[in-house]
Symmetry: C2
Subunit: 104 residues, 2 copies
């Protein structure tokens, strides 16, 4: 089985996190996770190809924004809220609160 690399908390970079979140599709994804808790990839209602979704998921994972856990055929995605709040207090909630009004 393939090993999915996740950065350690202390290796999470602000610029990488901001870049990972600077895409509307990825903002949508983390917004969905934040609202509905951890969930498999196929739950996300984004108008893109599967391979493209994989790319975005990987981008978020490698930046340290999400945690990916394998469960059968599914990959369960969870937000690394605790790590993010420790590294960048207030950042995640500030971004997620924006989505509640007019996202994009």
């Amino acid at each position: 089985m393939k090993i999915l690399h996740h950065p350690h908390r202390e290796d999470i970079q602000l610029s990488s996190v901001l870049h990972a979140l600077s895409d509307p599709v990825r903002l949508q994804i983390i917004s969905d996770i934040a609202a509905g808790g951890e969930q498999p990839c196929n739950n996300f209602d984004v108008p893109i190809a599967k391979s493209t979704l994989t790319h975005h998921i990987r981008t978020l994972r490698e930046a340290g924004v999400i945690q990916v856990r394998v469960q059968g055929t599914q990959h369960i995605i969870a937000l690394r809220s605790e790590d993010l709040n420790t590294c960048f207090p207030g950042l995640l909630s500030a971004i997620l609160n924006v989505g509640k009004n007019t996202n994009k």
Copy 2:
């Protein structure tokens, strides 16, 4: 004289702002402005060519992060704190606070 376009407050996009701030050089720039108030471009202590700095300043300006004002031969750069705090409450301070510890 050249007209410098700035987006209106209501046209500022979260993804664009996050992208503008996802570069170490640009994080440095806004960190400097936040700490020392508005200042001309040549004040920034970044190891890049003038043309590159112009590119970064434009990226920040077009995303709605900074306000550029011409004063003689100088371009004075200011943070659009009020607009950003209105559009994305808490975002700017969360990002700037990170820089106070370990930036990059």
